[in-house]
Point group: C3
Chain length 262, copies 3
């Protein structure tokens, strides 16, 4: 069975390898795939967006393990959640709250049964000592119900909602990818009524562009372009360069789309 890892440990961190070693010691046949370890340190919101965007591309029944855990060792819970066709293991700090917005988990378990943990649990690395062995046991067929007590709700975080009005949509930049593209929370569905032509004006900070394009390559180098990106969200890109660096825009900056609504 497939197990994925999403953490804020940094690319090529040996801590990730310790988790893999623990998993493979319990289940040598586990197939482990890394989603990313480049979540900014302790940035639970960023981790939540990555999980929402990437985990749906994996096969059903995949076990997704996420460790972005500023509260490790505090009273925050560690949980199992079944969301859609997949299994999730994470600290209960909002990390699963994006995935759980459209589809409430069908099962949530507060992980308390130490039988499935390492014999010694450190105070600071529950990823290795609790989450990794629990994932291995799940992959070996242990039913989630054996892991602890049922819960009815996950911890959630406040997420800025997109405002859709007549001739106007308002959202925020929610993430920035490694190319420097600025990715908003405005979805293709929400943009359905916006014309694609020059009459539509996209504004973000003091920057402005007209029209929503299909691809980067429609425009000359160094042009600011708005398009619906691969995650199905409105994004801003500088053709052939980094919009992040060129525009200095940060996560959380408002972005608006306006057009003359007759």
């Amino acid at each position: 069975l497939l197990i994925t890892l999403t953490t804020d440990f940094g690319p090529s961190s040996p801590y990730v390898a310790a988790m893999k070693g623990v998993i493979l010691s319990l289940n040598p046949r586990a197939q482990i795939v890394e989603i990313t370890h480049a979540v900014p340190p302790q940035d639970v919101r960023h981790g939540a967006i990555v999980l929402e965007e990437i985990t749906p591309w994996f096969p059903p029944e995949t076990i997704h393990v996420a460790v972005v855990d500023p509260g490790v060792g505090s009273s925050r819970k560690i949980i199992y959640a079944r969301i859609g066709p997949s299994h999730f293991l994470a600290p209960d700090n909002g990390l699963l709250s994006r995935l759980a917005r459209p589809a409430h988990p069908s099962t949530i378990i507060h992980i308390t049964k130490a039988d499935y943990w390492l014999p010694q649990v450190s105070a600071t690395f529950h990823g290795r000592d609790i989450l990794a062995p629990v994932a291995a046991h799940l992959s070996l067929g242990v039913p989630p119900e054996m892991l602890g007590e049922p819960l009815s709700e996950l911890v959630t975080l406040d997420w800025v909602e997109v405002i859709v009005a007549r001739g106007k949509i308002e959202g925020v930049i929610e993430s920035i990818d490694s190319f420097g593209n600025l990715i908003s929370n405005i979805t293709a569905d929400q943009l359905a009524d916006a014309p694609r032509g020059e009459e539509t004006v996209i504004e973000c900070d003091e920057h402005q562009t007209q029209g929503i394009f299909a691809t980067y390559s429609d425009q000359p180098e160094m042009t600011l372009v708005a398009l619906v990106g691969s995650s199905g969200k409105l994004e801003l890109a500088i053709v052939g360069d980094s919009a992040k660096i060129m525009l200095g825009v940060k996560v959380g900056t408002p972005i608006s789309v306006r057009w003359p609504a007759g």
Copy 2:
């Protein structure tokens, strides 16, 4: 069957994981190996050199997927090529042009058959939506000929050729590795006539060194050394430090080797 990935998405990019998820959803038994995701963004030439240097170390019949794709969404083709004993999937933008120099592909296919793609293809991420599922289908035994129409030629790029004369060889720095070593396009074969001793002078920018050594460790710390590196090319290294940082030399800088030819 083995599938490799080479991209410019950045180390630990979640976009890579989306490609892996798509492949494993179609073929759960696929074995995926990452070559690198640290090709500089949109640097097709760098990607071409990496593919030329690394893919020959993999077993025959490996399926190599490469995504460095500044023209995504434009009219550039996506292609399959059989080069030597291996399979390649890439945008047709020159990314395979180094591999195809010594050995013209025995088969080239313009990938047009959408049956082997994801049902929905975004305008900006063909790596996930076209290349990943096509690789998975190939690994499941779909014959390359089913993927689209035959082509006779790949897109090529201009590459600076090494000039070999009597007592003199001229080339360029083509890549820089993570140790800061400056790697030229001059091969061991081309250097066959150059003496290894002090009479041979290597020049690059305003920097100069004498002799071609066997290993870094022959010289004291902080010395500039010329040697034939692990890729079989002439390279410049600073013993125990980074030649890139110490010398400020960039890709494309000319390098020459001269010796008294009697």
Copy 3:
């Protein structure tokens, strides 16, 4: 069988992929796991600490390959060592000297038998040309004794020993993790007599904190905290930030723990 890789090649280096290609060409069923490629270039001491900390989490009989090799091409040996239940392949430059402190290797072999190497061995990349193929052959069942001649000792490095006295323990910062936490060489065992409360004073450079805590989350943001970390060693952390950046402390800086001993 499981093969791990630990190198200083840098995250996402294509050199790592060349090693994987060589291994998979010889043993297509080998399962390869990366420990880290972010050992600072040529920092043998850092590599030794990573191996000591991470390899014990892997299953018995795992083949651990380590390449931090400033002396590549010199007369330094390449060795096989059986340490505890695991196999190690590395240059004999001290890289295994931390693992070998508590448990002297039961077998050490100087790798000299070229039958198990690539046919052509470069002067500068023994990781690919010697260590990778030897690891593949081991995973296929070649007995270690076939690889070369027995040795009685490994090369060792000087490591600063912790001084434990009445009411006082003195050590050094030995590594810094990706969160910027400063990890010392003082173990939980050595700290057994130190009280956890405010009477215990931890000093490092001009910085000072009182008490040894169980977790980061016991203290307010931006506080300097001392705790026993996930590696079982005393570490200094800034809650919610990087102690490395905030304090400017480097590897090798002394750290002391003092308390009133009645």
